[in-house]
Symmetry: C2
Subunit: 156 residues, 2 copies
DNA sequence: TATTGTTATACTCTATAACTATA
DNA sequence: TATAGTTATAGAGTATAACAATA
């Protein structure tokens, strides 16, 4: 007897968004965990690949992570030689964090993982529909949180 | 200095879906908690409003909840007179659970809460776009989990 | 012996707070 | 005295496992 969610919930966009978002998050976390990483390791590498950061607090703010949790993430990445921490000589409290060559290779591997998960998850949608979904979600995100608004960006 | 997420993440539909889904879930949980309820209380009432269930295990399966967690949810609802548990005379292990009149009123109140949250969250989208978003999400959900597939249903 | 509901336990994730070293 | 990073602690939420009653 394969029962299903109440029709009332399925009719709510908010329920679908929350439920599917959670499912995708957990699936992603599991995939990274299976390789001995956290999905947050990916987000840190992705951020640093767009340029080194001059303080851990900047990374934490960008990714909306707790600074104390970021410490453990960076420890894990540094142990494996994927990022480097270097003290700022002018203010020895701060550290500049940068991705290494090995980190960039690992990032490439991470990309294939998230791409595969996303492809599986969005399988029923064609390319146009995925673009449409992305556009809708981005507008929702940008409206409520400036973190989703990526500057027009002149490439370095 | 209002920094933002890495462009790589924002460009990923999966990231947006997971991130926004989590945000909406937390927002919803907070709103219900502020009224002394859990968001799961809403889902239980919504389910029972579509017809009583002949065993708690059926409810747990429908809502994809752990049976032991459902016990606490039903306790809370029953204490406030929002649902009734009645032992099945034929099999005294089972209980039929049904929503009460007070439960239906509470459900109506819950609906205004989730509607308000959803309206706030989806504010930048017009009606057509919300429908489009709902359609896309539903197709994604239905493809990976039969729980999202509501039978065509001849109304009782 | 198996199943329904219940209670008790353990574990993960995260949020908060305390600590050190530099300024 | 304030700040950057680190470490330690505590809490919520959830998953697992043991238990009692009935079949």
């Amino acid at each position: 007897m394969p029962s299903c969610f109440p029709a009332e919930l399925v009719s709510r966009t908010g329920f679908l968004l929350a439920r599917l978002g959670m499912a995708l998050k957990m699936r992603t976390m599991d995939a990274f965990e299976a390789e001995g990483f956290s999905a947050y390791h990916y987000s840190v590498l992705a951020l640093l690949a767009e340029g080194p950061r001059t303080a851990q607090a900047v990374i934490a703010e960008s990714l909306q992570l707790d600074p104390s949790y970021l410490v453990a993430l960076l420890d894990g990445l540094e142990e494996r030689g994927l990022v480097e921490r270097r003290r700022d000589p002018n203010d020895r409290r701060r550290q500049t964090v940068a991705v290494t060559a090995a980190g960039k290779r690992r990032l490439a591997a991470f990309r294939t993982v998230v791409q595969r998960i996303e492809d599986e998850f969005l399988e029923p949608l064609d390319e146009d529909e995925r673009r449409e979904l992305h556009d809708l979600l981005l507008r929702v995100g940008a409206h409520r949180d400036a973190h989703f608004v990526v500057p027009v960006a002149s490439k370095s």
